[in-house]
Symmetry: C2
Subunit: 203 residues, 2 copies
Amino acid sequence: MTDNPDEFAAHNARMKRVQAARERIQARHTLERGLLIVHTGNGKGKSSSAFGMAIRSLGWGMKVGIVQYVKGSWETGEKNFFQANPELLTFEVMGDGFTWDTQDRAQDIASARAAWERSKARILDPAYDFIILDELNIVLRNDTLPIDEIVAFLRERPLTKHICITGRNARPELLEIADLVTEFAEVKHPFKAGFKAQKGVEY
Amino acid sequence: MTDNPDEFAAHNARMKRVQAARERIQARHTLERGLLIVHTGNGKGKSSSAFGMAIRSLGWGMKVGIVQYVKGSWETGEKNFFQANPELLTFEVMGDGFTWDTQDRAQDIASARAAWERSKARILDPAYDFIILDELNIVLRNDTLPIDEIVAFLRERPLTKHICITGRNARPELLEIADLVTEFAEVKHPFKAGFKAQKGVEY
């Protein structure tokens, strides 16, 4: 596009038609209820996108509950931030770290079960408007928690709040009942160029 | 997997080997510098993932600057949250809304230029550790800003901070110089099932 005023006028007229079309489309979208959201795929950003939605919710005065299933006891930026602001939301790290770090299947199962019981309590608590179950997909993939039980509960969930579940390798049973699914696909990753995980980006 | 103790022991031994392999791989990744990050694709979560990285950075005491190129004057959760916490970061909405809403190409160009000048100042300011240029891809795609000028500047950027650029239809010239690229792919979207955009999720 040049600086030609005729082209500008044509652009402006075209955008007026686009706007009218968009308004007609939006008028047809009237449903509103709590969504079941899944972030999956091998790319970066599944958890950080959920944390960004937490920020959006907090900006509207909605109460947020986060349960982390896998992240262990190590320090992360999100833990530092959210735990320093307990008046904003609850942030509970229930996982013991990756299963190759715990090397204890019985402990993995016990931790995942405790995290799921806490998750159910948060989902059923009317005080909460947005619930993040971070890395739940990982423990479902490993059969550390039984997929049938989790799906049965989520089917009957209260529709007054949003729930976001993250982690690669989401189970098809979960995708089937979800309202919003995004796949995060890795296009280029600095780890492969020799970079280490860095503060603010990876943790 | 069953509750059989032999299977548990085999799992635990296998995980010990996985852990050792991971440690060997990680020892080879030693590079550390500011990354150029691009979030693109037609799926949801590009901006919210950037806001989640902002939270991670804030949790480490890093200073964050956000410049929004397209979002207009309407209220959003992230704007409410971040602007209510100005001690945490700077959040500047420089865009006038979508081009079909402004219907004024000359104004679009002037706004994008002002946003880019502000972005450069933030990138060059040593006080900032993480810069988000939200929806810059949109104005590059429209040629509202010249891609060559932006790429030339980013090539010579200070390597002491991370920069995250969001928006669908990222230009190939930008992907080429980026360190980390994630494509957000839409798998299932509630809009298509008749839902309207909802607080905390979409805005």
